[in-house]
Amino acid sequence: MTVPAPRASTSQFDTNELVINMGPQHPSTHGVLRVVLRLDGERVLDADCVIGYIHRGVEKLCENRDWTHIILLTDRMDYVAAATNNLGYVEAVEKLMQIEVPRRARYIRTILAELQRIASHCLWLGTHAMDIGALTVLLYAFREREFVLDLFEEFCGARLTYNSMRVGGLPLDIPPGWDRKLRSFCDLMEGKLDDYETLLTNNRIWLKRTRDVGVISGEEAIGLGLCGPPLRGSGVSRDLRKDEPNAAYEEFDFDIPLGTRGDTYDRYLIRMEEFRQSIRIIRQGLDGLPEGPVMGKVPRLLKPPAGETYHAIESPKGELGYFLVSDGKSTNPYRFRVRPPSFCNLQGLKRLVRGHLVADVVALIGTIDIVLGEVDR
């Protein structure tokens, strides 16, 4: 009887390498990511990501729209966290033009960004769990995401691409009764989080599938430019909400969860904790919501003075940076550059999957939490 060898043997017998294409049409590459895997049996020797399948030239497009019209293009990048993309962009423009944003608008922006974080993490949790085979969590997470989408729909009329912010503030104040619904959602979400954790956190199979999978040290993660939960999972305390507070984050009290091992399970725990911290921030925001206008004094035609700036915020996926250059003459940006967190995190996949099995590849794509709209732009 032969003993099956799960580990790739280095003997002269195993010289047959198998090259397989994972994607661009594959159920767990989250869109149109293509990963070319070089396998020895089931063990991954090397992985090469091929991206660009939905490259729409957003940066180029933006250079030919005026500063206000760009907001709706930012929706289309990380389309599961459109509000966060809006936020990063309008803040970058505000920084370039030195516009003061009313406090109420900053509060509402913070609430929206955190709500968006919950929605984005719901999607991550569902797909990540489904990739590992836990089907039910997907449906549960999408059920809660639906509530978030309902809230956004009531706020700005859209469910996916919100176009919900303007340079200088917000187009609309929150509708009456919205804060009450948001509060009840927060209560509901806390209970549901416990549901998810019952299904996964202490599940032996979940632990086996995620513990010690894709371990990366903090130093290496920094070098690879990982950001967001993958970086914090390796114990690097870097959250732009704390380090370079934007919106109204400096007025809020919240914790940054950090991992210790830098494996998939730690990244999972971190995001689960971020759900709770987001709820905490939303509650604080609702409690302390100041009165006042939601739109600052902004010229009708935006025309920032010549100059450039880089502004980064913490999106659900990590550091979302906007590098904007204005030539001071036209109403379009001269250069519009996005630093997409998914793009930089995806770069780490090659390092993470090496030596793991095919089944881990999907777990690792899930743990990186990519949105191809943002990777390819």
Partner: protein, 186 residues
């Protein structure tokens, strides 16, 4: 506005390497000669006072009429000291730039994107290929003289030919009626 320690440290350690220091809406930028770029970046990464261990972004800007038309921009961050800096170098179309993947592995894809979109020659890069555009693509979309409109098929297959066609003054005059990105640039 007083320059932060990091800027002063570079100026002290590498005199003459920094051509200019700029400050605008809270961001510090070092403008460095292309020849000494790698030296400056290496110093920024390793020196105690700077410790920029995190490469946020590598990107470029195209300023066509200029002799050295590209600005190559590195956005750096220090996870230890929690400060940011931008380093900028001017590069001409035919000039070569040393890759920084040795300093920050993160720059790998970012430099590939710069190559893909601007066509800046980055040398000593471990894996310099197009990243967002298909491998057989011609032309560099983020350049300011890249056509935004044109006869679709021709453009898709061979943008370089299209560029040549449209630079002939009389033949393509009617095609040029749509305002391109270069309409503002003399």
């Amino acid at each position: 506005m007083e320059a932060p320690i990091a800027v002063a440290a570079v100026q002290d350690a590498l005199p003459g390497a920094i051509e200019a220091v700029s400050y605008w809406v809270g961001d510090w930028t070092l403008i460095v000669a292309r020849e000494r770029l790698l030296e400056v970046l290496e110093f920024l990464k390793t020196a105690e006072a700077t410790a920029f261990d995190y490469c946020s972004d590598v990107t470029a800007t195209d300023w066509p009429p200029r002799e050295r038309r590209f600005d190559l921009i590195y956005c750096l961050y220090s996870t230890r000291l929690r400060h940011r800096i931008r380093v900028k170098a001017r590069v001409a179309e035919d000039e070569e730039v040393e890759s920084v993947t040795g300093l920050w592995p993160a720059a790998n894809w970012l430099e590939r994107e710069v190559f893909d979109q601007f066509g800046i020659n980055i040398v000593n890069h471990p894996d310099l290929r197009r990243i967002l555009m298909p491998d057989e693509w011609q032309g560099y979309p983020q350049r300011k003289d890249y056509p935004l409109e044109g006869p679709g098929e021709l453009l898709m297959e061979n943008p370089q030919d299209w560029l040549r066609v449209r630079n002939l003054p009389d033949e393509a005059a009617d095609l040029r009626s749509g305002a391109g990105p270069d309409s503002e640039i003399e």
